[in-house]
């Protein structure tokens, strides 16, 4: 049943996805250079899902969820992991077929496996975003999220973007038949210097788990949260024209600060210093920033506003 070119390493799966989506016409972007909780936070998804301009992008996004750290001991849980993200606007009519093609490309043949689309509505309270779609199951395991964006930053998405998110480690472990993430071959296991996922990330998982849970300076984090929030607000309120009289709204720099605030909130959450009641308030503050950025982005060229 095994196909002859079945991938043998984590990176082969990533490369197969990159090639597949490049072949389907997506711009293959690079990860965003900031700490984010999921691939959706990349401005290539959040901001580009807004406005009327067509868009097609695919990228790997390193993602951080401090509360999921397990010192590298849990077979599936990591505080730092990779997502593969595809976003196409407007969503093409054959998006499901395109997606299934990507599974074939990494060695999952839907004629041998049981691939199912199971209802799962997506919502991001911090981004003020929601969509309808499914989690995709392969033999009872969730391998992707498939979402048609309906709103981002409180704005209706017109046209609608189709978003695909693959949890790379979990998907790769399944394809490669690995039980513990740290045992997964990262590069070709027959290379002269074969490296496992654990060779690369076991130590960092330990270090970050300790820092996230026990060491991060919470006073500093609170201060940074306030700073990011203030800077975001300041950028959003800045005059549209610069000193030379050019109209340059700064949606992206403002959004960077919103991303920062979001990650700082996640770190504070992992340190256990945010109570249940405060939680909602913090999420609301981040959402207000994201909404402001979305509002501003919608006035720009990239959102399809004619000059």
């Amino acid at each position: 049943m095994t196909s002859p070119n079945r991938p043998r390493s984590f990176q082969e799966i990533i490369l197969a996805l990159q090639n597949y989506w490049a072949d389907k016409g997506c711009a293959v972007l690079q990860p965003y250079d900031m700490e984010v909780g999921a691939g959706t936070f990349h401005p290539a998804t959040t901001l580009r899902a807004l406005g009327s301009r067509s868009w097609a992008a695919a990228y790997v996004q390193p993602s951080r969820r401090p509360t999921d750290g397990r010192y590298g001991e849990n077979p599936n849980r990591l505080q730092h992991y990779y997502q593969y993200q595809v976003i196409i606007k407007p969503s093409p009519p054959d998006l499901q077929e395109l997606y299934l093609g990507s599974l074939r490309a990494i060695g999952l043949d839907p004629l041998i496996h049981d691939v199912r689309f199971v209802e799962d509505d997506w919502e991001s309270p911090t981004l003020g975003a929601w969509g309808l779609g499914w989690e995709v199951w392969c033999d009872g395991m969730e391998v992707s999220q498939f979402t048609y964006f309906q709103q981002v930053g409180g704005h209706d998405c017109k046209p609608v973007s189709g978003e695909l998110t693959y949890g790379l480690e979990r998907l790769a472990m399944y394809v490669l038949g690995v039980e513990h993430v740290m045992d997964m071959p990262f590069n070709d296991p027959d290379s002269p210097i074969a490296l496992s996922y654990g060779d690369i990330f076991r130590q960092t998982e330990q270090e970050y788990s300790r820092w996230n849970f026990d060491q991060a300076d919470t006073e500093m984090l609170f201060q940074h949260f306030k700073d990011a929030e203030a800077e975001c607000a300041r950028i959003l309120e800045a005059a549209e024209t610069d000193s030379a009289g050019r109209r340059i709204p700064m949606a992206h720099p403002a959004y960077d600060q919103a991303i920062k605030a979001s990650h700082l909130f996640n770190l504070l959450d992992a340190r256990g210093v945010i109570s249940v009641t405060e939680r909602q308030a913090y999420i609301g503050r981040v959402r207000a920033l994201a909404k402001g950025c979305a509002d501003l982005f919608l006035t720009t060229d990239a959102a399809g506003v004619a000059r």
Binding site: P92, P93, L111, V118, L132, G140, V160
Partner: protein, 752 residues
């Protein structure tokens, strides 16, 4: 007579929405067709994950031509009147007919609406149905503006008869209806044409799609049973899961797997919940061991390796899930064994409601209530209090964190691990019950005590902070708590005065809600109650005394003591709260009894009596009264009692006195009066005895014996005579009748 076939083919429709959607499609389309003047012989709706299908048989080919005549103004009426008539009919003057009428010549309009072909009507009706479909949640996709549950890909819409099939011309948001569909997503993805429903269903089956959800369910059930039977196992039935799974597949292929030995020590509820929630597996029970040892997963595809790859994959995912569960279980058991202190501490920092304190505060209240209630329901107070303190600790366990629906179930396991007796552990499991109206009601005394305390705390807590249900809003599920309370009392035949624990609950909850504002009356009272709860004997005694009919309870005493130091309004507010809560419970009781066939006016008549906070007594009275009112005697007696009461009320209002004493047989003038005296002499003590013994059927029999003498009395005797002595005597006699009735119920509230 053509047949109509409609298929709306889309991306995967959520399983939970399919049943409703096929009914909605059937309703919207058939109603639309009928409104447009067509008739049909029958209709059937079907659904799979990717399609909604409607087959309508024996549709009329055309709507009938209709002819309507309308009478207009007289021919000699002013022009303005005629113009108005022309506007309203849409005709011109030369299309009108002048006819002779009684008052001269009158214009008549004859409006003919020609029939329309079915295809035209179907196109309109289907487009409207698609555009207005009541999905619980719908979405847009691509650059379009149409809304559907998930992207809609194609519409099949054909009318067929002996002559052949005709595609109905219809385009909705760029999707043009045709006569083709597709089979199974992977096994038969190509498009094919269809000519009618039979052809459609047969071709779909060849293309690996079972159209009917009921058939898919039957297939799953049969194959799963066969797989289990081969191993000597049984599938644990689960209708909700079955409906969901049948909505996730077009071609069900059940596969059976075995749970690895290392997971068999997990509680069966954990295995079952994990498999169901995470993977939608059915559980297979080995009757020889009583354990869940296997599972059935339902694939949507037949594969060349007979599902071996699929099963192996599912097995791996299950192993990962159950490893997590085993990890939680072992850690939880360790904590349980060491006394669950960490969980208890943890609950102190979990807010139950910001005005009602933490979960730990809530447990304190429930423990005190459970202790007080225990003697009333035959439970050991120490055990009830102990169980209440343990019952919610599992909320902090890792397992309940993962599977909230296992709350209580895990509590029982952990209590046993901690060395608690069975009765205490069972109460931890059962104290949430009954949740739904068909849930089993706990019967073990300790469980009943804690379950009652739990519900009373919920009711009094939210009542105390004024979070009462309004209209359709009941965010804290107080109606459900009230129904649970009612069922606990009634199905266990527990007789006690509910006011007492309600008072206690309200006070404690109000104390909690006000404890922030120190020094006020109720905070003060609550702290006193806390003291009283450290003196459990006094507290329980007070409750028991109250249950026996005494109105004195600890809270009452405390209120009395504190009244001197506080304002009257605080106290009356509090009293009103209690009355309002009791009347809320009475309303719930009425709803509950109405479903049991007891009329609301009968319950009202009983609720107007003393002792209406003893729900069991209310129900016994209402049941007996209901039975009596079903007889001729009962109905006539009610008339007689009401008549007596009316005459008396009028006389009392007129004379400004109350007639309540002194009827004497020596002033009786007729045989009928004397007979009534004698009947009352017999009935009164019989009613009194029966009511004291709470033998309500006997009380009904006793009062029913008054029917004939009362009827005869009213037949023969004029109450308001000229002789004041005789009149007063008769009114006083009527008051004896009224009193006899009042012993049992307020008959004036009975309708009819």
């Amino acid at each position: 007579m053509p047949d109509l076939l409609i298929e709306l083919f889309s991306e995967e429709i959520p399983a939970r929405m399919q049943a409703r959607a096929r009914e909605d499609l059937k309703r919207l389309v058939t109603e639309g067709l009928v409104q447009a003047g067509l008739t049909y012989a029958g209709a059937g709706a079907f659904s799979t994950p990717r399609r909604l299908t409607l087959a309508v048989e024996g549709l009329t080919a055309h709507s009938p031509t209709t002819r309507e005549e309308r009478k207009g103004p007289r021919t000699d009426a002013p022009d303005a009147a005629l113009e108005g008539f022309l506007r309203s009919t849409g005709l011109t003057r030369d299309q009108l007919e002048a006819r002779d009428d009684k008052k001269g010549q009158v214009w008549f309009a004859v409006i003919e609406r020609p029939g329309r072909p079915a295809a035209q009507i179907v196109a309109e009706v289907l487009e409207a149905a698609i555009r207005n479909f009541p999905w619980p949640k719908s979405m847009r996709w691509g650059a379009g503006s149409l809304r559907w549950v998930r992207p809609l890909h194609s519409i099949l819409c054909i009318l067929s008869d002996e002559a052949g099939a005709e595609t109905v011309p219809l385009t909705v948001d760029g999707i043009t209806a045709g006569n083709t569909t597709r089979g199974h997503r992977f096994m038969a993805p190509d498009a094919f044409t269809v000519t009618g429903f039979d052809d459609y269903a047969a071709k779909l089956r060849r293309a690996r799609v079972m159209l009917d959800a009921a058939e898919r369910e039957a297939e799953i059930r049969q194959q799963a049973d066969n797989l289990a039977f081969a191993r000597g196992w049984q599938i644990v039935p689960d209708d909700a899961l079955m409906a969901e799974v049948a909505g996730l597949v077009e071609w069900p292929v059940p596969l059976m797997g075995v749970i690895e030995d290392r997971f068999l020590a997990l509680p069966p509820e954990v295995l079952q919940t994990s498999m169901k929630e995470h993977q939608k597996f059915f559980s297979a029970l080995n009757p020889k061991t009583g354990r869940i040892e296997g599972f059935v997963t339902v694939a949507n595809i037949e594969t060349p390796d007979d599902g071996a790859t699929i099963l192996a994959g599912n097995q791996r995912v299950l192993a990962a899930r159950l490893s997590d569960a085993a990890f939680f279980w072992e850690n939880d058991l360790r904590e349980a064994k060491s006394g669950m202190e960490a969980w208890r501490d943890g609950l102190a920092s979990v807010t139950f409601h910001n005005k009602l304190g933490s979960q730990a505060d809530r447990i304190e209240r429930i423990a005190a209530l459970a202790r007080g209630i225990a003697p009333l329901v035959g439970a050991d107070p120490d055990q009830a209090e102990r169980a209440a303190r343990l019952a919610k600790l599992d909320l902090r366990s890792a397992m309940v964190g993962e599977f909230p629906e296992l709350q209580g179930t895990m509590g029982r396991y952990y209590a046993l691990e901690a060395g608690e007796p069975e009765a205490v552990a069972d109460a931890a499991r059962d104290h949430y019950s009954p949740l739904g109206p068909s849930d089993a009601v706990p019967t073990a005394p300790v469980s009943v005590a804690v379950a009652l305390a739990d519900k009373i705390d919920t009711l009094t807590g939210f009542w105390a902070i004024d979070e009462k249900p309004t209209g359709s809003k009941d965010p804290f599920a107080l109606r459900r708590a009230a129904l649970g309370l009612i069922r606990l009392i009634l199905s266990n035949d527990k007789k006690f005065k509910l006011k007492v624990p309600l008072e206690v609950g309200l006070l404690r909850a109000r104390g909690a809600s006000l404890s922030a504002k120190r020094g006020d009356l109720l905070g003060n009272l609550a702290s006193r109650l806390k003291e009283a709860s450290h003196d459990p004997v006094a507290y329980a005694d007070a409750l028991t005394l109250a249950a026996k009919g005494s109105d004195v309870g600890v809270p009452g005493k405390l209120v009395a003591q504190d009244l001197t130091h506080s304002s009257w309004s605080d106290y009356t507010n509090w009293e009103n709260g209690l009355d309002a809560l009791l009347s809320f419970l009475h309303d719930r009781l009425k709803v509950y009894l109405r479903d049991q066939g007891i009329r609301h006016d009968i319950i009202d008549a009983v609720l107007a009596q003393e002792g209406n906070d003893d729900l069991l007594q209310v129900v016994s009275r209402a049941t007996a009264l209901n039975a009596m009112l079903a007889t001729d005697d009962g109905r006539n007696l009610t008339q007689g009692l009401k008549r007596a009461s009316n005459i008396l009320t009028q006389a009392e209002e007129k004379d400004g006195v109350e007639y309540s004493f002194g009827a004497d047989v020596k002033f009786a003038e007729t045989d009928q009066e004397r007979a009534l005296f004698s009947a009352l002499d017999t009935a009164e003590p019989a009613i009194k005895r029966a009511m004291q013994a709470e033998d309500y059927p006997a009380a009904m029999t006793a009062i029913a014996a008054l029917r004939a003498p009362i009827d005869a009395f009213f037949e023969a005797v004029q109450v308001n005579t000229d002789s004041q002595i005789v009149r007063r005597n008769r009114l006083n006699l009527l008051s004896r009748i009224r009193e006899a009735g009042r012993q049992i119920a307020d008959f004036t509230r009975i309708e009819g």
